[in-house]
Amino acid sequence: MRNISFIFKQFSKSVLLVAGLALCGLTANAQADPAKGEAIFKAKCTACHKIDVRMTGPALGPQLEAETDDAYLTKWIQNNQALIAAKNPKALKIYNEYNQAGMTVFAELTDADVANVIAYVRADWKKLKEDKAKPAAGGAVAAEQGPSDLVIFGLLGVIVIAFIVILVLNKVIATLERLLLNKSGLLVDEEEEAEEKVKGDKLALVKKALKNKKLVFFIVLCGTIAMGSWSWVTMWNTNVHQGYQPVQPIKYSHKLHAGAMKIECQYCHTGAFKSKNASIPSLNVCMNCHKAVKTESPEIHKIYDALGYDPQTQKYDSTKAQPIQWVRIHNLPDLAYFNHSQHTVVGKIECQKCHGQIQEMQEVYQYSPLTMKWCIQCHKRTEISGKGNGYYDKILAAHDKIKKGEKVTPAMLGGLECAKCHY
């Protein structure tokens, strides 16, 4: 369903685009080429402008719809400062409206370039308006929940079918066995007798089994082992929350940001290479991009709400600001001191080593057990990367005297001592 609606959307978009272009061709200057204009627009204007929404600068669609004096516009785009300096009333008005933040001067754009851009903006704005006027493609919303139900039912179905198959197979095996026995002519009577008995005393079989000491011993042994190993594992894993994946207040996807977009970890987690805390990014980091990117998404609006930010006026209202309460996934106990920079900068350990393939996680979960055993294992097995680090020169030399040629691990440098992490 989703696909269908998507294809439909794509299709209608292209139809509209063609229609829009045709319309533009009719109305706009014969020389103006919206396609060329689009290229220039994307290269020079998108940093501050959008067609339909106000960003740093005004929303260009409505602006250019209202302003029809192309000569003025060309002058403005090419050198707005000159217009302001000349005290052009229109120029001054908009200059003041936008807190006297001057627009970049584009002296390099020729009149034709500017005309192309204007043509593109007007065409695109018209298309967007028409897009809005059309009712949203139905079904897309309803389809949202479809797949998950389908999966669940599908799974249930598979389980039920598998169960039935097992039962049937069991039955077949039993029938075949009986056939085999019948064929050899053995135990026919006994079985019939037994069957009669079963009817009389349902527990006879159990009673009989209980008399078999070897069987009882075997079952008890199996039970003990099973229970033992179960409790062993459970107890060992008390308070180990490997796989812990709480629901976060914002559906943030590492898969998208770190995976698809390939944003460096430390762009957001600034502390990871500097401090003991990797630190969750503050919202101003999000706003570096999301002031412009995906501004319509309800998840992004959660950021805006938290900041008290109004995307229309682009103003922050700190009285409405409310910090976002993320749920902490990696909970190291207070008694253990862990420093990120020690591991990432000095140890040159990849984030993924402890946090898993974070760039593939839609939602983050605790990848590592975060137990002391896990820490120690790594400290015992990892070779320290001391080459080229002046700090380690003497230390490695001193160490070489004691243990020649062995791989130097943190453990050998005292990395297993209590007070390296507990103080």
Binding site: K276, I280, V327, Y392, K394, I395, A419, K420
Partner: protein
């Protein structure tokens, strides 16, 4: 080597009282009642099957239920908009100023958590006093005012401003006086604000009132040399120092600064380079911190202080001898004065210094005359770059009280002054204030004075303020805020600007203007860049004026007569008559910080008493009056004020005198400081127009006993010889004198021969110079702040459960005069007669020894831990894993140094302890890099392992070896005397390696072969041998 000297921590140890012997038999003051259980009904009692099953069932059920508890969900809340300079997990340091000393404030995630000295500070060179260390806790004090009060009810600032402005306008129209009463202000910008205020209200005047006054010195200098200042003293230039009751290493003018100066001529470096040290002779009545450090200390009665100074003058200048000289009661002191005069003259011009703690103008005038004779001016005393630390004027203040009483004052503003508590005639101030129309206090809390004021306009804590300071002429420091105001407070200067309708209403702008206009240029700075450079550095140091020499030319005849007259007024007479001297303790000082639990729990450097003040009497007087230890006596002053205080036998106290500390007995300090001890300010006395700390009192016995929590004999060494001492003469003959290196210990065996502790890279050790340590206790508070050490309160301290990781052991001793019959090893005084010979304990000497975990290589604690909670690291540290500890306390039992501390309670979450750890607000001061410890867990000095780790990490990230001195432990950092050196013994060039190679180095209880990691350097005393002969 065992010397003939006996060391003891308290008289109970010396006398081996039965209580002491009993208490010291056990490691812990209160044994677990295991004996009772075993012998009594405990084991033989039958446990019915049903009870057993019930208990079992309940246990299983409870455990199951407890286990069912959901793991708590931890929220992680990042900044909305992270300030650029903050990285969570990394501390930021800001330069600021504490009472004129440049400091660095360590903040984590926007909250100040520790105060550290600025290494470039002119005064203390990076050291800090206990009070400064504790000041960060006051920021989070719950007893601080939450907001402004108008007639006792909470109000807002606009309403308050309107009220005060209206009142001021009316008062201005009325034309009566307006008084701004402050304790000494040495901030140039605050002084400018006050001057502006006075311009706006011409009837206003500035009255400087110090609870502890130095008017005597200021007035004497005015009379003698025409300079009404407290001079800047240079103890570093003095070869011979004679002090009459001036506690210059502790509370007198600028203790930290004088400590750095004083130690320069006495520490390892001075001894090794010059083979010489300064000589310090102290005449005083109560044992002060400075007295404990003196080479020669002589107790004199408080009333004879002036007489002693006259005698010294006469000895120095026999030709112009002053009339009225008499012999002192203490014949030894008389002898010492003659010797001191000789020493002073021998030192040479400009190499001697005589100081007096008296606030009597006449006494200080004679002192000036003496210093002039010795040529001190221009060398050891600098009158041209004076100190601004105290400028209180007693006359001005008394004039104000008189004016107010007569109804001539209509408005009064109290800034950093609390006269209702600390003025000696409370009645007068109350009467005076009742006649004043507008009474404003800027106090940060509803203190005693605030109770009588109609406006409380709470001031910021200094860590929330902008400001500046100038403790010494030419030295300017900056105060910058390190946190947003915690409460709804406003800076006092800003209030004054607002109320006087100044053109500049923001104090920050005012400060900037003042610096741009007047001060930046003094440090060769200018403009925005200059301001930023100042904020970065914290201070500017204008080129000092070359101090000029001054000659004393006045006639002293009348002065001497005044001294004798005053002396006779405070001379006690009759039965139960005593001379009472009030003094400041280094921890509590004038009592303004009485609400600070770190300071209350810091044992007094001399008496080792916590959480109380007391009446210190000489053991002879105690015996004469038939008093028991801590028996309460009733002391009645001449003005009728009477107070009940427990008695403390203080060796070294002058016979016939009593010393009581001020700063206690606050009634409105806050939860911590209220009703701790008794107020001693009312014992002040007014003589010749200045406050005197001495008065004649009568003493009566009462039958109550009020036990003090005194830590002196906690953690006993059972008389083992842990102090090593030598005289300078012995040291000059043999640098190893007294260090016990006479080859006594031979053939050590090693239990761990086959598994030695390898320390391939680092071996963290410490060297403590007993000759530099003054015993002030700043390290104890610094350690508490750094390591989240709980405050346990008076009751728990009384049970020997104080938690300090470092303590200063104070040992008294006396020379046995060559009597070697006593059993040296145990240090017991075997002959009863020996004690009797010590009639008045006049000649006791004191040694301070900082004692902390010695990080032994063969640590006795490690071998007895059944769960391996305490182990040895490859860097020579004795590690303590709290979470592994099960609390058997074997380690504490087996530690010969008694430095392990047991968490008897869950101090950070126990309603019985209103501890700073357990309060959500004050918790903010905790160091996030150190865990708080749970009940039932042992703890001890970790050698600030968090700092070692952080230092190593920084070096690793910067790809360079760790430099020596880069990691400083908290106690070392705060020590103005630089008595503690910490570092890597594996590095032969490190400071600590060099220090440990000194011939004076010895290890405490070396003979046990525990191989301690802390080396002490023998105490060397520059004694006056002629005095003993």
């Amino acid at each position: 080597m065992d010397s003939n000297k006996k060391y003891w921590k308290g008289l109970e140890e010396l006398n081996r009282t039965p209580e002491f012997v009993e208490k010291n038999r056990h490691e812990f003051a209160e044994p677990i009642p295991i004996e009772e259980v075993l012998s009594g009904g405990g084991l033989s009692a039958k446990t019915p099957r049903r009870d057993f099953l019930k208990a079992l069932g309940f246990g299983v059920g409870a455990v199951t239920l407890a286990a069912c508890q959901k793991v708590p969900v931890h929220k992680s809340i990042p900044y909305l908009v992270k300030p650029e300079e903050i990285t969570p997990g990394i501390a930021n340091y800001y330069s600021s100023t504490y009472e004129g000393s440049a400091i660095l404030v360590k903040t984590r995630e926007g909250r100040p958590i520790k105060v550290e000295g600025n290494p470039g500070d002119l005064l203390s060179k990076g050291g800090l006093s206990a009070q400064a260390q504790a000041s960060v806790l006051e920021l989070y004090d719950n007893s601080r005012a939450q907001g402004p009060l108008l007639n006792g009810t909470a109000t807002g600032w606009p309403q308050l401003d309107k009220f005060v402005k209206d009142e001021l306008a009316a008062i201005k129209a009325g034309g009566k006086k307006i008084s701004l009463v402050t304790s000494t202000v040495h901030s140039p910008s605050t002084l400018a604000v006050i001057a502006d205020f006075i311009t706006a209200f011409p009837t206003a005047s500035h009255v400087t009132y110090d609870a502890v006054s130095y008017t005597g010195i200021i007035q004497a200098n005015k009379n003698s040399f025409g300079k009404a200042v407290v001079p800047h003293y240079n103890f570093d230039k003095a070869k011979v120092i004679v002090s009459f009751g001036a506690d210059f290493l502790g509370t007198w003018i600028s203790g930290e600064e004088f400590t750095t100066q004083y130690v320069q001529n006495r520490n390892s470096k001075a001894l090794e380079e010059k083979k010489d040290m300064s000589r310090h002779i102290q005449f005083e009545s109560g044992m002060s911190l400075t007295g404990t450090n003196a080479d020669v200390r002589l107790p004199i009665k408080p009333s004879e202080d002036g007489l002693a100074i006259i005698n010294l003058y006469n000895a120095l200048n026999p030709a112009g001898a002053l009339p009225g000289a008499k012999k002192l009661t203490n014949a030894n002191a008389d002898k010492a004065i003659i010797l001191a005069a000789k020493e002073l003259q021998k030192a040479g011009a400009g190499k001697a210094l005589v100081v007096s703690g008296s606030n009597d103008v006449s006494v200080q005038t004679v002192v000036n005359a003496i210093n002039s004779l010795l040529g001190s001016y221009g060398s050891t005393i600098d009158l041209d770059n004076p100190s601004r630390q105290y400028a209180g004027n007693d006359t001005d203040w008394l004039q104000f009280v008189a004016d107010a009483k007569s109804g001539a004052v209509d408005a009064v503003f109290f800034l950093d002054a609390n006269p209702v508590y600390d003025f000696y005639i409370a009645k007068d101030i109350e009467a005076a204030l009742s006649k004043v129309r507008l009474k404003v206090t800027f106090s940060d809390r509803a203190d005693e004075t605030a109770a009588l004021c109609n406006v409380v306009a709470p001031n910021h804590h200094y860590l929330e303020s902008w400001g500046d300071d100038s403790a010494v002429e030419g030295y300017y420091t900056i105060v910058q805020p390190t946190i947003n105001p915690v409460n709804n407070t406003r800076q006092a200067e800003e209030s004054l600007l607002v109320w006087s309708d100044n053109a500049v209403k923001s104090y920050y702008t005012y400060l900037r203007n003042n610096w741009d206009k007047n001060l930046l240029a003094k440090g060769g700075l200018s403009g925005q860049k200059g301001w930023e450079a100042l904020l970065q550095k914290g201070f500017i140091n204008a080129t000092a004026v070359t101090p000029g020499t001054y000659n004393f030319t006045l006639s002293l005849g009348g002065v001497a007569q005044t001294i004798l007259n005053n002396s006779s007024k405070v001379t006690a007479s009759g039965d139960g008559g005593f001379e009472l001297q009030v003094y400041q303790t280094p921890a509590m000082r004038d009592g303004k910080k009485a609400n600070n639990p770190w300071l209350q729990e810091l044992p007094d450097p001399v008496s080792k008493v916590t959480w109380d003040n007391f009446a210190a009497m000489s053991p002879a007087d105690v015996k004469k009056m038939g008093l028991d230890e801590f028996q309460v006596i009733s002391i009645k002053g001449a003005n009728g004020y009477s107070v009940d205080l427990p008695v403390l036998s203080q060796p070294g106290q002058a016979v016939g005198s009593i010393s009581v500390a001020v700063g206690y007995g606050r009634t409105a300090a806050g939860l911590v400081g209220n009703n701790v001890g008794k107020n001693a300010y009312p014992f002040y006395n007014l003589l010749s127009g200045t406050f005197q700390t001495v008065s004649a009192v009568t003493v009566a016995k009462t039958s109550t006993i009020f036990p003090l929590s005194q830590t002196q004999t906690h953690h006993s060494f059972e008389g083992r010889n842990v102090i090593r001492e030598a005289t300078l003469v012995e040291y000059q003959k043999d640098p190893a004198a007294g260090s016990g290196k006479e080859g006594e210990h031979e053939g050590f065996y090693d239990l761990w021969e086959n598994s030695p502790h390898d320390k391939p890279v680092y071996d963290w050790v410490m060297a403590i110079d007993l000759n530099a340590c003054t015993g002030c206790g700043a390290c104890v508070v610094a350690c508490s702040a750094e390591n989240n050490i709980p405050v346990v309160g008076k009751d728990e301290v009384g049970r020997r459960r104080e938690m300090h990781w470092i303590r200063i052991d104070r040992y008294y001793s006396y020379e046995q005069n060559g009597d070697a019959k006593t059993d040296g090893r145990t240090g017991m005084v075997t002959k009863e007669k020996d004690i009797d010979k010590l009639v008045n304990f006049d000649n006791v000497t004191v040694v301070h020894q900082p004692m902390l975990c010695q990080h032994c290589d063969h640590a006795p604690c490690e071998t007895v831990c059944p769960v391996l909670a305490t182990t040895h690291s490859s860097e020579g540290l004795n590690m303590m894993a709290y979470n592994r500890c099960v609390g058997t306390r074997y380690c504490a039992n087996n530690c010969p140094y008694k430095v392990r501390r047991f968490n008897w309670f869950n101090y950070w979450n126990d309603s019985r302890f209103d501890n700073y750890l357990s309060n959500e607000h004050t918790q903010l001061v905790l160091n996030p890099d150190v865990t708080t410890r749970f009940r039932g867990v042992m703890e001890k000095c970790s050698m600030c392992v968090q700092r070692i780790q952080a230092g190593k990490l920084k070096a690793k990230i910067e790809k360079r070896p760790l430099a020596d001195g880069e990691v400083k432990v908290a106690c070392q950092q705060t020590c103005s005397a630089n008595a503690i050196v910490f570092g890597n013994r594996n590095d032969p060039n490190s400071e600590v390696s060099k220090a440990l190679k000194s011939e004076r180095t010895y290890y405490v209880l070396e003979e046990l072969n525990v191989k301690p990691g802390i080396g002490y350097q023998v105490k060397v005393r520059n004694t006056l041998s002629e005095l003993q002969a």
